[in-house]
Symmetry: C2
Subunit: 463 residues, 2 copies
Amino acid sequence: MIDSVLIDELKSLVEPGKVLLDADSLNAYGKDWTKQFAPAPSAIVFPKTIGEVQAIVRWANERRVALVPSGGRTGLSAAAVAANGEVVVAFDYMSQILAFNEFDRTAVCQPGVVTAQLQQFAEEKGLYYPVDFASAGSSQIGGNIGTNAGGIKVIRYGMTRNWVAGLKVVTGTGELLELNKDLIKNATGYDLRQLFIGAEGTLGFVVEATMRLDRAPQNLTAMVLGAAELDAIMPVLHAFQSRIDLTAFEFFSDKALAKVMARGDVPAPFESECPYYALLEFEASTEEVANAALETFEHCVEQGWVLDGVMSQSEQQLQNLWKLREYISETISHFTPYKNDISVTVSQVPPFLKEIDALVAEHYPDFEIVWFGHIGDGNLHLNILKPAEMDTAEFFGKCATVNKWVFEIVARYNGSISAEHGVGMTKRDYLGYSRSDAEIAYMKAIKAVFDPNGIMNPGKIFV
Amino acid sequence: MIDSVLIDELKSLVEPGKVLLDADSLNAYGKDWTKQFAPAPSAIVFPKTIGEVQAIVRWANERRVALVPSGGRTGLSAAAVAANGEVVVAFDYMSQILAFNEFDRTAVCQPGVVTAQLQQFAEEKGLYYPVDFASAGSSQIGGNIGTNAGGIKVIRYGMTRNWVAGLKVVTGTGELLELNKDLIKNATGYDLRQLFIGAEGTLGFVVEATMRLDRAPQNLTAMVLGAAELDAIMPVLHAFQSRIDLTAFEFFSDKALAKVMARGDVPAPFESECPYYALLEFEASTEEVANAALETFEHCVEQGWVLDGVMSQSEQQLQNLWKLREYISETISHFTPYKNDISVTVSQVPPFLKEIDALVAEHYPDFEIVWFGHIGDGNLHLNILKPAEMDTAEFFGKCATVNKWVFEIVARYNGSISAEHGVGMTKRDYLGYSRSDAEIAYMKAIKAVFDPNGIMNPGKIFV
């Protein structure tokens, strides 16, 4: 913990009342959605301007005080947890959309703009901000950039990275960099903007971002398909992608669906029971597109890949079909799940998933595995539910073993130990399963370039 | 120049006959399409494997021999010119497409794969490689990645960056890095792949790249529109983008069209003469899309933005309309043009262009300015034709003055001094107009991380 002299210095850098030290604030702002690490920050500071952020970082750099950036704190890797007496820099008072340009289709955002706020803003302008995920109502743009947030529309729109036109960052020495200046084409050396995206605040803090917006989608339409076996999912994806630009291609298993059905508040997609389900979405902008989708569906049934299916005919039906997928995470949270967010290339999903299934079944036959995820991107969310009668500590102890097996399989498939949740502290010790020693050494050397005294979110990604 | 002992060492690293020292080879492989710098390499080496590339780089690192990577040598910034006794590493014998995955829609390319070869390969697979530009028949994928090549389809498909799923690079110490392993989602620390894209070979050499392919476009259709004034181009772009996903939005002035018309081998788009023209392209995948385009055209005429227009009704007409734009560069090359490749945000194009026009007209009223470019991306190609009676040296002397004025205006508009041609040696001294001192210092520090002895394409981007 830092001493009262340092606290007084910190207070002098911001407006009165913008440094909080009470236990509730320290607890609330010191953690994200992960629970493994107890929050223990020294103070929470709320800058209101870029100049104040620079002053805080310059001070921290001089005093060797560790800083942790804090956005919506919805992260799942403990990248925004302050467990070691750090000062948390929270962007709650930098939450405005500062400018909009209809010809460039850009919105200039302060880091504390909530994702849903930008989505709503875009809608009001007749446009669309396409990065979307379960925590969009709380997560902030600065955090989205720090983790290169993905979500449910990546197959069409890509990650957050694709939507960052320009970035203002404050590096570990307090320097302000204005990166790329919102240009579409700019071939003037290394694109430093890309380094800060996904860096989890370890190279510097995002203090402003110009985000691109897109044309609003027309008549979004969803299909839920029931597949006879996992291997059928790939040719189904291929058949649809050959004819239609999909906006989503999600996946869930019968066990995931059963849990959502048990809630009693979502209608079943159709009567047949199938082991695997795909939810796909597209713009039915014309009748011809909708017909192409139906023809492709029929083709998939003829081939024996698909057993049953349904297509939304209204906005309400679209939303109901999405609930089948979106409610899974919340529904299974009551079963104390072990969760893992992993990816492989799309074509490798079936053998990869089966290998993990078989391994867990062999060693822990009483474990229930619930799979769901963004299969169109190769991103799977693995969830193992705690058997009701098993002690929580025993369960997570066994899951730690599973974790290692899973990462060994991930490494063998050239996959990623963190598809979209980042590394933070929860996956720091496993980074070597996805990145080589040489890569990690280069990453550390790059950190030293931008943060020579190691004050920017230290201990995240790597030690 | 390096001595014969070093040459013998170099020869021992590759197959017999794969080091060339004759004057013709040195001259041919020592330069790109720029002419300002006389080629003067010490030798040309042709590796056939990644291992040979590593051996060459390790040797060069130990012996402090500068290396220049060589692809199709179609660059326009002298990034692939060896003017100081360097060893040129040419990838002509690493030109195979090694693998294809239909579900992932990826092709694994050696660096010497020609852009058009990949385009053709994709077409044979029923897919599409969307990065396209005038030199696609000669340029190589390694060079495309080194310069983050753009071209005529960026408005829809983005730059080369968007299509690189995975990258194998050899750094300045000879280390092989396998970056991102072709994953769509991978949140495991800094995305080093992004650093190497657009780095012009100064951080390492691309030795393999997995490129993404896309669905083949359906019924590409072009419109050429004549506009009454420059300011009308922006609302026209906006009107079309609000309703249709454009695959291109190009621009040229009446002077550019006149030069192409004078060739006599391309039909005029329509009879009316207009000061500015836009060529837009889209997938007329259904009749409804084509109708939406026609309705938007009519709206633009009603608003007084557009004076005349034509829409292609066949593949032949599509190609004829594209010739109006594509032939410009070659046609004006006979007028000894001063050329510049610059960009601003899309909305800033009209005032930016007018300001440069006015400045040149004021100081050099006898200069003919020919504008064309990818206006949908804010990327303009400025061309000034040498007055027939003016001495070439005098002309380029005056253009050096123009250059400085142009870059000052670029800087004032927060634009880029190189939209898509890179920095190389031709724009090295002007980098400060687009990047801050702090950014340049960070870039140099990053280079030192990956290339501690400064052997990888030294003197390019910065000294």
